[in-house]
């Protein structure tokens, strides 16, 4: 008898490192501080002709920034997941818009580890798995360095064994 439950994809198994929450919060805060700095500068420099709505814009920006910096990282941490099986690499990312990407390990062409300034502060790393398609790199953000290196070694060993990349 056919099942009545429609087939559904389950989420990938592993979460990224918990420090990623702080990484995302810091990065978002840095961006908002830059925006707020410009707005405050305009308030200070443009002495005359400051209407009430100038203050309203600054207040709205601050409120939006606070909401973004507190909510987004938590939300994102709950979404970002990854999993590697014998055949497939599977990632889930995003927060408001979420995306799951699946690619066969045999079709992975390059494995990159990237650590930006913020990642270095929090001792985290991003892993990017690219295939021959420009539309489908699988990105895992906010892994701790040891896990990232482990993934790279694992996949490098496996793609060496495979051939053919569907180009």
């Amino acid at each position: 008898m056919p099942t009545l439950v429609p087939p559904a994809l389950r989420a990938p198994r592993y979460r990224v490192h918990q420090r990623a929450i702080w990484l995302w919060a810091t990065r978002a805060a840095a961006g908002w501080i830059a925006v707020l700095a410009v707005e405050v500068l305009v308030l200070i420099v443009g002495e005359h002709d400051i209407a009430g709505w100038h203050y309203a814009v600054v207040a709205a920006t601050a409120a939006l920034a606070l909401a973004h910096v507190t909510v987004m990282p938590q939300w994102r941490y709950r979404v970002h997941r990854w999993e590697l099986t014998e055949q497939a690499a599977y990632t889930q990312s995003g927060w408001f818009v979420q995306e799951r990407r699946i690619a066969p390990v045999a079709r992975i062409q390059t494995v990159d580890v990237h650590r930006g300034p913020f990642e270095q502060v929090f001792r985290l790393a991003n892993v990017t798995l690219t295939t021959a398609s420009a539309a489908g790199p699988l990105k895992i953000h906010g892994l701790d360095a040891a896990t990232a290196n482990h993934i790279v070694e694992d996949i490098t060993a496996r793609i060496r064994a495979a051939d053919g990349d569907a180009t």
Binding site: P12, P104, R107, S133
Partner: protein
Amino acid sequence: MLIIHPVVELARALPALVGLLLAGQGSGHGARWSLIASVLVAGAGTLRYFTTRFRVTPAQIQLRHGLLRRRTVAARLDRVRSVDITAHPLHRALGLSRVVIGTGTSDRKGHPALTLDGLRVADAARLRDELLHRRPAATADDETELLRLPASWVRYAPFTLSGAVTALAIAGFAWRLISEAHVNPNRFGPLHTIERHLITAPLWQDVVELVAATIAFVAVASTAGYVLAFWNFRLTRHSGGTLHVTRGLITARATSIEESRLRGAELSEPLLLRAVGGARTLAITTGLRVGRGAERGGTMLMPPGPRAAAVRIAAEVVGAAAPFTAPLLPHGRRATRRRYTRAVGCSMAFAAAAALIWWLAGIALWSWLIVALVVPLSVPLAADRAASLGHALVGDYLVTRRGSLVRRRAVLASAGVIGVNVRCSMFQRRAGLVTLTSTAAAGRQGYRVQDVPTAEAVRIADTLLPGLLSDFIN
């Protein structure tokens, strides 16, 4: 052969040289500086010719150029996916052509394509045969003609709107000329007459006349563009396993696509062309760029023409007719509702933003009403977008169709699918829909099945990538 680089460089530097001439006018040395610059540019072109070498080894094609900074670009022969031969008027006058070799990765950012400029026509053809068939051209090659463009298809040209770009460019250029060079349009006799006429005639007559003139100009420019680009269009299949496209009135162009790298085809129907029963066919293949003006990238297998012919060509090239004619599964009521909320919502937001700007800047209300016309227009747009939405799995092919202003039906072989991306926003999640993208190394790199019910998306992904998802489905 020797002359092409200096002359091409000179032509490319012409705007800069004219600028130099104009800038120097003030100091009185304009002509002298321009001459010196011309000599330098021509010298650089000559140098490039002397320092460029290429060779074809059994395994690789290598291109080396540069004097101070030598650079060698090499590509494996088994990586060559397509060869594109272009001859601009200057090339043709000198019996030369430019060869662009497409490999799997060279068409992406950061990887310069292999370009050999200034090859003799016969050499270019020989190189193409060597690269694609890995054998000298001397051996006989059977050729089947799939399409020779009938002259009567020019009737579809005015509906391609390619002339609109030309019209915009000319309008922009004229505007710049008037505003920056302080040319007074009243000084030209015919323009002066037109202006006098527009001032004296009633407003409605002005509007009707201007619209008619614009339509006439766009139609003529589109037809001219069609003839220039697609004159002598021929699509042939060669026994060596390649498809050849040759075309062009003034700039001759020949594109060769390796058939084993062809991953499908796309029927594209811009709104106006669709209204008169027309369509065009594009190839989905690695090594040829799709995107800004597909005809520029050379993936065009059939220029705008009758829809039935477009379907026939696509079916013949892909080797399966069913994917292009089979009925598609609609995406249901919730996907339809999303088309309406998105189209109407976006147009209302746009009109509201315009209203705010108009109000702040104190612009007349009637001009805002013209902008606000997008709101009622968005309703039929949404209806058409909803009607376009569909997908199917036919044999080994994924068929997906979407869009209204340009409706595209893409047929992608499952062998060409690398992976899948399943994307859903908060709103989509609530409606139980996702957007499934099958990623590929060919064509647009990813083909979207938009707003499909989640369960159906999983079924499609599972069929495209057999066995891969079994661990993740519960």
